[in-house]
């Protein structure tokens, strides 16, 4: 860790944060927010949190930015300045921010120094995970083993959160089917104006590699940074790329709305189902070690490893499908006619 670099990135982050909330153009704000996320990603790599950085790169900088851009594109770029009338709200905001800030500052004095190897956080639970991950689960990536096994229950609900979000967006935005058909018949090719052969060609060539890489990230998550989330988001991003470079009809032709939601559903179901199978086999919920009874040629430790791969696959399916669904609905305001 190089603290000068650290400090530099942190100050850039603060600058970006200030810029993104103060620019008057929402599109710029979205882009600056993307930059902010990338800087975050750098910061975390620099602090050794590679998995977090990977996720932030794909989810925060990637999907979030796309969603922001899509939303801004669908609404308006302009922010009206009404500074004069809103003293009261600004006062409340300042008061809340300073009071929360003050309370937080009061706590910092008691914290152990930054990156102190003797801090409670580094000495209480984490040594167990670090020293036992191989003996318990045979997974060298400690983050993966903690994520998918020691705290697999968290992760299951995290997947459920994503699924719920996808469903929520559909519930809020999606319009009735008849309306959709009606409108899409009128406007057949909506992204005509954006047609660009080079982009389309490059995008088309990139998609298979992206998907391959996504599968690699997923499969190799046990040994290197990555896993279900990152893989799933990249997989989803490849579909979004199609939608952006071509149009939404092409995407929906390959992956209909119904399949989209069903896949998201199946992904979570794979996760919860594996947990439930453990329960049916007589162990506790999500206790993969029992799976050695039904998996050929595995002992209890490898069963955990395989179980994790199984649920990571579920996560990847769910996340990729839901990311696409989020994009499709937000970019088209729920009408499924055109994208960006």
């Amino acid at each position: 860790m190089i603290w000068q670099l650290d400090l530099l990135i942190l100050s850039l982050i603060v600058l970006c944060a200030l810029a993104t909330i103060s620019v008057k153009d929402l599109f710029s704000a979205a882009i600056i927010f993307g930059a902010y996320s990338f800087l975050m990603c750098l910061l975390w790599t620099e602090m050794g949190a590679v998995d977090v950085a990977f996720t932030e790169a794909s989810v925060g900088a990637g999907v979030s930015t796309v969603l922001f851009v899509a939303a801004v594109f669908r609404t308006t770029r302009k922010v009206k300045d009404r500074g004069v009338k809103r003293y009261w709200t600004k006062g409340v905001g300042l008061l809340a921010a300073t009071s929360v800030g003050g309370v937080l500052i009061a706590a910092v004095g008691d914290f152990p120094g930054f990156a102190d190897p003797l801090s409670p956080a580094s000495t209480h639970l984490s040594p167990y995970f670090i020293t036992n991950t191989l003996t318990d689960t045979a997974v060298p990536n400690i983050v993966t083993s903690v994520l998918a096994d020691y705290r697999g229950y968290d992760t299951m609900f995290e997947t459920a959160v994503i699924f719920a979000a996808g469903l929520a967006v559909i519930a809020i935005l999606r319009r009735s089917k008849t309306g959709v058909q009606h409108e899409s018949r009128e406007k057949v090719i909506l992204s005509e104006g954006y047609e660009d052969t080079i982009i389309r060609l490059v995008a088309r060539k990139m998609v298979p590699f992206m998907q391959l890489f996504a599968l690699y990230v997923l499969a190799h998550g046990h040994h290197s940074p990555g896993g279900g989330f990152q893989g799933g988001v990249i997989l989803g991003a490849s579909f979004i790329l199609i939608a952006i470079s071509y149009d939404m009809k092409m995407l929906l032709g390959r992956m209909s709305e119904k399949w989209n939601v069903l896949l998201g559903n199946i992904g979570v179901l794979v996760y919860a189902g594996i947990g439930f199978v453990c329960l049916l086999l007589g162990a506790n919920f999500l206790d993969y070690s029992i799976l050695h009874r039904i998996l050929p040629a595995t002992d209890e430790i490898m069963a955990r490893s395989h179980g994790m791969l199984g649920i990571e696959t579920g996560v990847a399916i769910a996340v990729s499908a839901i990311v696409v669904s989020l994009y499709v609905n937000i970019a088209s305001q729920g009408k499924h006619d055109k994208g960006l």
Partner: protein, 498 residues
């Protein structure tokens, strides 16, 4: 027996799995949604009752998820307190589900599929929040219940979107503050397991960061439960939501948050720290007093039935927070008992209003006119629910007030007693005004022996009446069995050192 041991896990897993199954089956046939949801919640309900009986018989149950021992892994901890809350969650959600069967067909015919899926996810989230013994896991589940409730509320009428947006912003602030508080606990102790935290924390009494962690956790939970002055999001969100959503969300969300507050106060921190070392009861109880009085006065000013009920909820949250912070056994007993009582009362009244909306498409006070003749069963249920809110014996509302006031007398918090009595009186006023409209009509009759206009009986459908009547009966039953509930469940959970 395995089935009874796994019942603990099934409570949360069943709604989650069935939500997924509903979503799949629903794409093929929408009529499948309701029965699947019904069976899942029935199963969860049974599991909850099995678990309660196990807890009563053999004490606290620990369930290791993934087979990992805490504090490494996540565990479920079911003691007498959250067993009670779990039963409340599943009973309320089952009754509200039954109630929603008809109303959802009218209010959201196109979104049935999403509604039921989100509904069950919400129930799973609430149950998970209640049952978990891990502070971070609680955050994840808090978010799932929040996210689903944002969506369910946004499905309401045209003002619901803005209400839902405000709820998203404030709900996120609340959840984030909670997460930050857990972060502070983590940086100071290195642990996330509640039981583990409780053993470590006494050694860190003097650290200011622990006090900050406590403030953040409480602040987060207070935003979530709409404790004054963080209540701003609640009235609009609950009153513009579809009636079947508010029947689920209004009774449960605030109550589960109150439960979490109690859990954090006494199972992570300890009474000695909060009431002796920090001594913040003196600050919070007056705030609760203000919450009660504010909620009551606002309720008085409302013209819309649901708005009025939501402000009553704000006041009731004040009851429970105040009771929990009275720093004595009686007050805490009252607060816990009131979780149960208020969940059922709120459910009862929201279902009544839901039935009125279903029949008359209106939730203003004027819609109550001649309701006693138009919907006799509904109005009897309404009367019982209102009596419970006012606190007339033998309904459960009386006994929770009894405990809360007794607790306040023990610590001489006279302002809190005044607030409780004041809100009872305001409730009495508010509800009797409605009774009068419902019984005699808006305008007084003239002449001596007039006969009121002929109004045909047009009662809500059976699927609405059954849960309503059951809830109303439960209000009385809970009141009658107060002693049993308190001695069998509540007194067992009271923390040592109070």
């Amino acid at each position: 027996m395995i089935a009874s041991e796994q019942a603990v896990a099934l409570m949360v897993v069943l709604p989650l799995l069935s939500a997924l199954v509903i979503n799949m089956a629903g794409w093929f046939d929408r009529r499948l949604c309701f029965p699947i949801a019904l069976f899942a919640l029935l199963g969860s309900c049974c599991s909850a009752f099995i678990t309660v009986s196990r807890v009563i018989k053999s004490g606290v149950i620990h369930y290791r998820l993934g087979g990992w021992a805490p504090p490494m892994g996540i565990e479920y901890v079911v003691d007498h307190l959250n067993a009670l809350v779990l039963v409340i969650i599943f009973v309320v959600s089952l009754l509200a589900l039954l109630f929603s069967y008809k109303s959802i067909q009218v209010e959201l015919p196109e979104k049935i599929l999403q509604f039921y899926t989100l509904y069950l996810l919400l129930v799973a989230g609430l149950a998970g929040m209640t049952i978990t013994g891990d502070a971070f896991n609680l955050y994840v589940l808090m978010e799932i219940s929040a996210l689903t409730s944002y969506a369910l509320i946004a499905l309401g009428d045209k003002r619901a979107l803005v209400a839902s947006f405000n709820y998203i912003i404030l709900g996120t602030i609340g959840a984030s503050l909670y997460l930050l508080g857990v972060g502070h606990l983590y940086i100071m102790t290195g642990s996330l397991n509640m039981a583990d935290l409780q053993t470590i924390l006494p050694a860190l009494l003097d650290a200011r960061a622990i006090a900050v962690a406590f403030v953040l956790v409480m602040g987060g939970v207070w935003v979530k439960m709409a404790f004054f002055p963080m209540h701003g999001w609640l009235p609009n969100a609950y009153s513009y939501a579809p009636s079947s959503t508010s029947c689920l969300v209004a009774p449960l969300m605030t109550k589960v948050s109150v439960y979490i507050m109690i859990r954090m106060m006494f199972s992570v921190f300890n009474p000695n720290y909060i009431f002796v070392y920090l001594d913040w009861g003196r600050l919070v109880v007056p705030l609760a007093t203000v919450a009660i009085i504010f909620g009551s006065i606002s309720a008085l000013a409302q013209k819309d039935l649901r708005k009025m009920l939501t402000y009553i909820i704000v006041a009731e949250v004040g009851y429970m927070v105040g009771g929990a912070w009275l720093a004595n056994v009686t007050g805490l007993t009252g607060a816990i008992y009131h979780i149960l009582a208020d969940a059922m009362m709120t459910l009862c009244l929201f279902m009544v209003v839901g039935a009125i909306i279903y029949k008359l498409k209106d939730s203003s006070m004027d819609s109550m006119e001649f309701i006693f003749r138009r919907m006799p069963v509904t109005s009897v249920v309404f009367v019982i629910g209102a009596f419970a809110m006012i606190g007339i014996p033998p309904t459960c509302g009386f006994f929770s007030k009894w405990y809360l006031i007794s607790g306040a007398i023990e610590t001489s918090q006279w302002h809190y007693i005044f607030a409780l009595l004041f809100s009872s009186l305001v409730n009495a006023f508010v509800f009797f005004r409605l009774f009068e409209i419902g019984f005699f009509g808006k305008k007084p009759a003239d002449g001596h022996d007039h006969h009121a206009p002929e109004i045909a009986v047009s009662e809500a459908p059976v699927t609405m009446l059954v849960p309503m009547v059951l809830t109303a009966l439960s209000l009385i039953a809970i009141g009658i069995y107060t002693n049993e509930i308190v001695t069998v469940l509540i007194t067992k959970t009271l923390p040592v050192g109070l």
